[in-house]
């Protein structure tokens, strides 16, 4: 069984982002970039399925500028077998990415696509569901547990819903999106980082895949949210309780 794992290059989650003074977006120049944390969980899950003998090959995919190759090398260092970059300078929105992935699925014929539930930059939480729709595959979003039955060609997924958990069973092929609890991703070891440099990384373009990636949504401006006012320090617990009761009126 082949697993496709889409990964996105995003501003590292520890970076304090800065809105550009002209309001055109968030400054990503000279900022540390990393793999989207939810995608790390997706790579980890796919690699574990391969280590268990459930999957035979893990293919990492990214779409965007040439620098996304670094993100793909990280996926290879974590255990993916090969990688594909859909190279474009166009700003990619979720529907366009889903169409690119659908085109790659048609070429690669994976039985499973595992991807992050959302990226921590645009926070859209759309691409996996859109991909499943375009392929007319079942979907299991926000997964916290994945069990593949290769004999029956089904997957049983526990997913995080508001206030609890839900377990779905569906036939393969399917799309799974990962939530935080699914696993704890490993760190890439130095030997594996070195080995990853020799693993195959192919590049294609949206044109070659026959996909129109023209953005549908225009960003008019990006601004900082209203700043919180600096608060006060209280001397002791009594003053804190008094403030909460009489000033903030929240208790």
């Amino acid at each position: 069984m082949k697993i496709l794992v889409p990964v996105k290059r995003v501003v590292d989650y520890n970076v304090k982002i800065r809105v550009k003074p002209d309001g055109s977006g968030v400054d990503t120049a000279n900022v540390k970039m990393s793999m989207n944390p939810f995608d790390e969980i997706a790579v980890e899950e796919a690699v574990r399925l391969k280590e268990k003998g459930v999957a035979s090959e893990v293919v990492a995919v990214s779409a965007g500028v040439a620098a996304c190759q670094e993100t793909l090398r990280t996926a290879l260092a974590l255990g993916a077998d090969r990688a594909i970059l859909v190279n474009t300078e166009v700003e990619l929105q979720p529907l366009a990415v889903a169409k690119l992935l659908a085109a790659l699925v048609a070429k690669e014929s994976p039985q499973l696509v595992i991807m992050g539930k959302q990226a921590i930059d645009d926070d859209a939480n759309q691409t996996g569901q859109m991909l499943a729709a375009l392929l007319n595959w079942p979907q299991a979003t926000f997964a916290s547990k994945v069990e593949v039955d290769t004999g029956a060609q089904t997957v049983t997924v526990t997913r995080e819903i508001d206030g609890g958990l839900e377990t779905l069973k569906m036939a393969l092929p399917a799309v799974i999106t990962t939530d935080l609890r699914l696993n704890e991703p490993r760190f890439a070891s130095l030997p594996n980082i070195m080995k990853a440099k020799k693993k195959p990384l192919d590049t294609v373009t949206p044109e070659a895949l026959g996909v129109d990636v023209t953005p549908r949504i225009r960003t008019l401006k990006v601004e900082e949210p209203p700043k919180r006012q600096g608060g006060v320090k209280v001397a002791d617990v009594d003053e804190l309780i008094a403030k909460l009761k009489n000033e903030a009126k929240v208790i």
Binding site: V11, Y13, N14, K16, I17, V19, V26, Q93, P94, L95, A98, D121, D122, D123, N125, Q126, T127, Q129, M130, A133, L134, N136, P138, Q139, T141, F142, T156, E160, D162, G163, G164, L165, E166, T167, L168, K169, M170, A171, L180, R181, R216, I217, R218, T219, L220, K221, V222, E223, E224, P225, R228, G231, V232, K233, V237, L240, I241, L244, V250, I251
Partner: protein
Amino acid sequence: MGHSVLVVAEHNDETLVSSTAHAIAAAKQLGEVTVLVAGTHCGGAAQAAAQCDGVAKVLQADAPELAGHTAEAVTDAVLAAAQGFRAIVFPSTAFGKNVAPRVAAKLDCAQISDVIRIVDEKTFVRPIYAGNALATVTCDDQLLVLTVRTTAFDAVAQRDEAAPIESLPVTFTGPKVELVSRELTQSERPELTAARVVVTGGRGLGSAEQFHALLEPLADKLNAAIGASRAAVDAGYAPNDWQVGQTGKIVAPELYIAIGVSGAIQHLAGMKDSKVIVAINKDPDAPIFQVADYGLVADLFQAVPELTQKL
């Protein structure tokens, strides 16, 4: 604004989930509201939808295929209803987030997620980077799919008179998915993202035992949900699903009490829209104090039991 807007209800067949009344409130700003209730034996929920203020019509799709409210089946119902609408609105909850993009892709239209403000019928404000920036976006497509953040729109009220309820036939063409089980946490505590008060512990608690021993009595007193910083989760003090932050839960309660939390950027991203923030930390320079309305520089092992006792 005179467009027709379809709201896809979140419900449990018997009645509506509260998120739906917030989604209707947002949709009202765009035009005349029709609500789709898709489920099995969902007459109760349809009736509740018909009595929501501002609802002109309810479409009830009632079929055994819709029993699990799965994305695949609900999408088929939405597609059956979608004709003629200019916007399809979902609450930005686990249900809405699961279904909305599937609908958008089937209709080949863009989705705008987590809308917090409607500027005009094509223009919306939404948080990006976990709320560290706000983007104003617009789309000229003839149909838009939106998910709306429920905390940003006050719920519509219920009224006595009811809008008409029409039955909606659905042809199911999507893949079949079996709902094996659904377990809703039977907790005495409110859910983290919906709680009025959240008490969050960080690395400063020192151990899982102390985390629970100190925070639970305080949370009990305040009827609060308990959260944890990423550091506390990584240290094993609390389960993953308690994590508040950029990669965890985003919360905005009336009162947020951060205990032994340093205030890393990624934590602040998850809680800084809280109405009132209290920080208790022994380090006066901890970044959490920069966003706290009330900061108490103190040894939490003394301050927290004292606070619990005096409340």
